[in-house]
Amino acid sequence: MKISREDVLRVAELAYLDLSEAELETYRAQIDEILEYIGKLNELDTSKVEPMAQVLSEQQTLDATLREDLVVPCAVAEDVLQHAPDPEAPYFRVPKVIER
């Protein structure tokens, strides 16, 4: 077994994700099978291979990655707040996080 019930619980906690008992067991079994399959990557010797995080060459991104850090008007603040679950302009309101 690659992944235990406790592993799934720990990961769900990291991801702030409530899972029911039934979901826990279903995902554990399914992810176990997936990880078992993923294990086939160990057949490959990758000790001399660089990890590839993205596909664009340096030349392609050279002109793209950095721009001047400028403030530009975007004028969507009102729209954005309007669709928030609990807005109080100009803020998003959340449950209290500090005890008095």
Partner: protein, 479 residues
């Protein structure tokens, strides 16, 4: 009235004043009204927006002005792509009432070119799936066989175009989500190179893999849409300045003498016999067109699914952290902030999304990062190298798009790994960043579309489209 409109057909009809842009949009809404209740391809319609745009086009026609390239063309947009003022749900309950405050760049460019946006199309939740059965708003049906899936995740866009409910549509492809539904619905569908089309306004699933691309009924229309949406966008730092050629101008050039790689590694076990027969017939047709077939090896193909599902889920777990009930979308109330996060996410995400968040968080977590995530990235490098090596020998690569024809609704939902394994022929190109296209390549069992996939080197879209167009004109759809 012509049943199947094309971009050129729309332009000619408008210019000859046989129909107005408003009438054309109304005709499409009528078809949608009749067919969508069964098909479930559209999640939302945008008649007001369509009317305003159509009026602009009609005013240009009345004034005798030059018409923009996509004037009056009715299009559909996958519901993971932001549309200002129109709900964009990503097929998820967590964004059921989300209204974006801005348009995606691809949407903006389509409208600037004269296209009329009809509405938003159904998809697997957050584009995670290969059958459209992971939508929180019900599955889409395949217009070729209503008891079967349209493919996914862009199943609504593919079905809408195939059923004549839009002339073209935008989808997104992370591991095959444009090409596979294109194959299942029997229409051409293209994923350009990574960086070719701006992702600004595309709600992220896996940022190093996500790409926006077109569906249409003809390769020429795919080329025209891609040309419109491609090119550098300052809002997306991964969109490149590589020049965008006129893809339509390259169509019709002879393909004789082009070298096409046939990777043995894509024709192994697990392929449906009917799919194999049609794809082999498609390859033979290219030979008849004067192309040279070259046997090539892409030795890391068999590892692509494993690498893909590590990388895609890891990126997804990070990207989907933003759905926390604070700024947009669903909130499930609780007195504690952390419990509010957990309950909101637990209630808002569907099963496939939760599964991928758990898997993605796991492969990134302390102690497993090297074994899984880093290993996946290294194997990604090997797969990209397979493609680079192949393109030193050939101009393009031919493979099946999917190992299986469209399957029955519900047939594969209980086994996620089996569903993932069917992405084998598409995820390779996703990891490598190269352009890939699916073109119709006959039907198996008399009615189930088969797709032939054409890969080109990075930013070699013109060659891919040229080949697809030649194949289409030579009767590829009926091999």
């Amino acid at each position: 009235m012509t049943a199947n409109w094309t971009i050129d057909g729309v332009r000619e009809a408008l210019a000859a004043r046989k129909i107005s842009a408003r009438e054309l949009a109304a005709e499409f809404y009528k078809r949608i009204g009749t067919q969508n209740p069964q098909l479930n391809a559209y999640l939302a319609l945008t008649p007001e927006r369509a009317r305003r745009q159509a009026e602009k086009i009609d005013a240009l026609v009345s004034a005798g002005s030059n018409l923009p390239p996509l004037a009056g063309v009715p299009v559909a947009i996958k519901d993971v792509i932001s549309t200002r003022g129109t709900k964009t749900t990503c097929g998820s309950k967590i964004l059921e009432n989300y209204i974006p405050p801005y348009d995606a760049t691809a949407v903006e460019r389509l409208e600037a070119a004269g296209a009329v946006i009809l509405g938003k199309t159904n998809c697997d939740e957050f584009a995670m799936g290969s059958s459209n059965e992971n939508s929180a708003y019900g599955p889409v049906k395949n217009p070729n066989a209503m008891e079967r899936v349209p493919g996914g995740s862009s199943g609504g866009s593919a079905a809408a175009v195939a059923a004549g409910l839009a002339v073209a549509a935008l989808g997104t492809d992370t591991g095959g989500s444009i090409r596979q539904p294109g194959s299942f619905c029997g229409i051409p569908a293209m994923m350009g190179s990574y960086g070719r089309v701006s992702r600004y306004g595309l709600i992220a699933f896996a940022s190093s893999l996500d790409r926006i691309g077109p569906f249409a009924t003809k390769v020429r229309d795919v080329a025209a849409i891609l040309r419109t949406i491609a090119g550098r966008d300052p809002h997306d730092s991964t969109s490149t300045t590589v020049p965008v050629p006129d893809y339509c101008a390259g169509l019709g050039k002879p393909v004789q003498g082009l070298r096409l790689g046939i990777p043995k590694d894509y024709f192994g076990e697990g392929m449906d016999a009917g799919v194999r027969e049609k794809v082999e017939a498609g390859i033979a047709l290219f030979q008849k067109l004067g192309c040279e077939l070259v046997d090539i090896r892409m030795p890391h193909t068999d590892y692509a699914i494993a690498a893909y599902y590590i990388i895609a889920t890891a990126e997804a777990s990070s990207n989907l952290a933003r759905y926390d009930g604070v700024r947009y979308g669903l909130r499930v109330e609780d007195d504690s902030l952390l419990a509010m996060y957990r309950k909101t996410r637990g209630a808002g995400f569907g099963p496939e999304v939760k599964r991928r968040i758990v898997l993605g968080t796991y492969v990134l977590s302390a102690g497993y990062y090297d074994a899984y995530y880093l290993k996946g990235q290294k194997v990604r490098g090997l797969i990209a190298q397979d493609f680079r090596d192949a393109f030193t020998k050939v101009d393009a690569i031919l493979t099946p798009t999917s190992p299986v024809p469209p399957f029955h609704l519900g047939e594969r939902t209980s086994d996620p790994l089996q569903m993932y394994l069917a992405d084998i022929y598409t995820v390779t190109g996703s990891l490598a960043g190269v352009p890939g296209m699916s073109v119709p390549c006959g039907k198996t069992c008399g009615k189930l579309p088969v797709g032939l996939q054409i890969f080109g080197p990075a930013f070699g879209e013109a060659r891919v489209l040229q080949l697809a167009d030649a194949f289409e004109k030579a009767g590829g759809a009926d091999v």
